[in-house]
């Protein structure tokens, strides 16, 4: 991984946005509460600073004419204190009730239209849609639907944070938590990991892509046909001789590809890189660009030999492989078979 900000964050308009985009109704409600808090504290701060300035001027030691007699008695002091206490308590309880209502809303959502699984892992987000479609560091969802997330972690605690939705949920290993939102604006929004999780915490980024319902369906079919694509991809994988090297049928040593999608791969150069779609694609077209650690750079480039369509299919096939698929297949004596 290099020192630049990882490329997964969506572009946002340049310039400073003190209030993040409001992409849910909840976001707007939280902002109202925030503005009320800012207003109340500004008033009180101004009162404190104003009083200090006023007293400071009026009662400066050099001012001999100020009236300093008749200091308040202890009784008066107590009364004033109680009045201040009561006033603050009232304001505070108002904020407490308001904030709590919103918080409970944020937890107890309406009936969800779909539930999407989110798994945090050092240092990436793995998403699985109800139909089995998988993606990394991106979450595609339809607009105006109640989406429930089921979040967990594979290693340490992370936190799923989408500022535009004003939601955040810790992702804790060994437990499953839920969160929900209903996005009201199509667009791309930032996804951060908010709980410190080790070396590349600040690169654990992604985006939430909110799409019109039609676009979302189209996206799903493109991905989801995942399955048919993968079958076609498997044939190409064998036909072009990939399996010869990668499935250990010849004497050449090449890395096994089952479960590679979404894994962190150590490279010869010492870098560690996330095996996403782009990486797999690069490996096929420019194998010398990233050479896996411990292997000779003998893989030929397939640039020009495979059409764009064919590459998509092969990538879909590799994506569909789960860790251990190939081992299982060979144990069953049914080499290369995958579901």
């Amino acid at each position: 991984m290099n020192d630049e900000v990882a490329p997964y964050l969506p572009e946002v308009e340049k310039g400073l946005h003190l209030i993040p985009t409001q992409a849910t109704e909840h976001a707007g409600q939280v902002d109202h509460l925030y503005f009320a808090l800012v207003g109340a504290s500004a008033i009180i701060l101004l009162m404190v600073v104003g009083l200090i300035a006023f007293f400071g001027f009026r009662y400066r030691a050099g001012n001999k004419t100020a009236n300093r007699s008749n200091l308040p008695s202890t009784r008066t002091e107590n009364r004033v204190e109680i009045a201040v206490l009561a006033a603050m308590l009232t304001v505070f309880m108002g904020f407490f009730a308001w904030a709590t209502t919103l918080y409970l809303d944020g937890y107890r959502g309406p009936e969800p239209a779909m539930t999407i699984d989110v798994v945090g892992k050092q240092w990436m987000w793995k998403i699985q849609h109800p139909d089995g479609t998988r993606e990394i560091n991106a979450l595609h969802v339809p607009v105006d639907e109640v989406i429930q997330l089921r979040v967990t972690s594979q290693d340490v605690i992370h936190s799923f944070f989408v500022p535009a939705f004003r939601i955040k949920r810790d992702v804790v290993p060994g437990t499953e938590k839920t969160a929900w939102f209903r996005a009201t604006e199509p667009g791309e929004y930032r996804l951060f990991c908010a709980e410190y999780c080790g070396s590349f915490h600040s690169r654990m980024l992604g985006k939430v892509v909110v799409m019109d319902r039609g676009d979302y369906q189209a996206w799903l079919t493109r991905q989801g046909s995942g399955r048919t694509l993968a079958t076609a991809g498997k044939q190409l994988f064998e036909a072009h001789g990939c399996s010869g090297c990668h499935m250990g049928k010849s004497s050449v040593r090449a890395p096994s590809l089952d479960g590679i999608y979404g894994r962190s791969v150590a490279l010869q150069s010492g870098e560690v890189i996330l095996a996403d779609e782009a990486y797999i694609r690069d490996s096929i077209l420019q194998p010398d660009k990233h050479v896996a650690a411990g292997y000779e750079p003998i893989m030929p480039s397939f640039a020009g030999q495979l059409t764009e369509e064919e590459i998509l299919r092969i990538v879909a096939y590799i994506k569909s492989l789960q860790p251990g698929d190939w081992v299982k297949a060979s144990v069953n004596g049914n080499e290369g078979e995958s579901q």
Partner: protein, 537 residues
Amino acid sequence: MSEAAANQASESYLSSGWRIRDWLLTTDHKRVAWLYTISITAFFFLGGLAALVIRLELMTPDGDVVSADAYNQLFTIHGVVMVWFFLIPSIPNTLGNFLLPLMVGAKDLAFPKLNLISWYIYTVGGLFTIAAVITSGVDTGWTFYTPYSTQFADRAVVAALTGVFVVGFSSIATGINFIVTTHKMRAPGLTWFRLPLFVWANYATSLVMVLATPVLSATLILLILERMMGIGIFDPALGGDPILFQHLFWFYSHPAVYIMILPGMGVVSELITCFSRKTVFGYHGMALSILAISVFGFLVWGHHMFVSGQSLYAGLMFSLFSFFVALPSAIKTFNWTATLYKGKLIFSAVMIYALSFVGLFTIGGFTGIFLASLAVDVHVHDTYFVVAHFHYIMVGSMVTAYIGGLHFWWPKMTGRMYPELWAKVAALALFIGFNLTFFPQYLMGYAGMPRRYQTYPEDFQILHVMSSLGAGVLAIGYLLPLVYLLWSLRWGKRAPPNPWRAAGLEWRTDSPPPKHNFLEPQTVTGPPYDYDTIDNK
């Protein structure tokens, strides 16, 4: 008394005994206070150095100054050093050590040897922890959250935890010493409600230290057990519960934040009354709020875990109590302001420090209310908003109070005056630098900038640059006093016993005080802060 004996008794605690062992084996609370002052100053500048590198890295969105791991180690060093080796011991062990016996009219603390031992424990434990953190690169942050700290951060976590564990004993020793001294060694006539608020604050702090620190120690031991022997306590892979660690950690660490602020509140009450030339507004209310804060402080730890998945109803209660804990703080702020009413205000450097405290504490406290408001906290938790909140309180308020107090009692501690003009410049640099550094962090926090990020999206850069520049100004505000205070030790004007015409027993004796503090036993006949009588004498 023979004349020679009388001379010896009136000799200042600094005038003889300058062999190394006269200092390293001293049991004089005033000298131990100096030992502590030197140690915590060293730690403060070490932690500050780490902060400067962090701010330098954050000038640009990419990671271009240090590596990702080095960045994480830097904020770990910064947090661990500042919290455990600077803030917690700061006021109690320096000003408190020096002044508590003087303020109650005693010869020394109740257990002078324990006091010296606590310094050794603290310094050795501190150096050991720093060595562990630096040589093997602990990168867990000061919070040591599991399972990262037990399973993944495969560096000298155990050594660092052991160091922090050991240092805990020094807090407990100090706490016990202060509690016993306050109960048993007050001068005749010095009833509880005649105690200066500084004593009240240190007393309450000590109670919290003695009650909360053992929980931290137990937690650290559990963590060490899990890491070394693989006993599943916090790690889900071993059948443990990672959230349990957070409960235990914050059960100590929230009260600990009050260990850090209460003494500062005590200091500021002394400073404001002196430079307003009148008694504090609502003395009883002030003393009771200190106690209320230390009690309620134990009931709010869960407000650090609103998004961790603790039960919703637990979250509600923790939110409610967090609002309650802010009430006594609000009363105190109001009372400091009201103390100015009908005073004779003198805007000395010390007063500027004290008033800066009031302003910064108001902002820090009010943003605490933002964080106690559940729905807002969900958004800003673990962002720079939280970072700004606690720096406003711990740095903006507490460190300012500490430095203000150091100036106020400097003539008493050293027998020298510092240059007032320079002190004013430093106080203003601190106020401006501080706000420039930390106010932008509130803004970027709400805008969605997570904390503990080495790299960040470009649109936050402008705020980060402001913050880094502010840190430069702030550094000047801290370095200036270091220079002119040291300068004053040799070239400063000699201080009279009571240069500020302040109330309080510590001002009745010489500057610097004799070895046994007072030549005659002291008695107290009236309330504290009786500036009317002093000024009309």
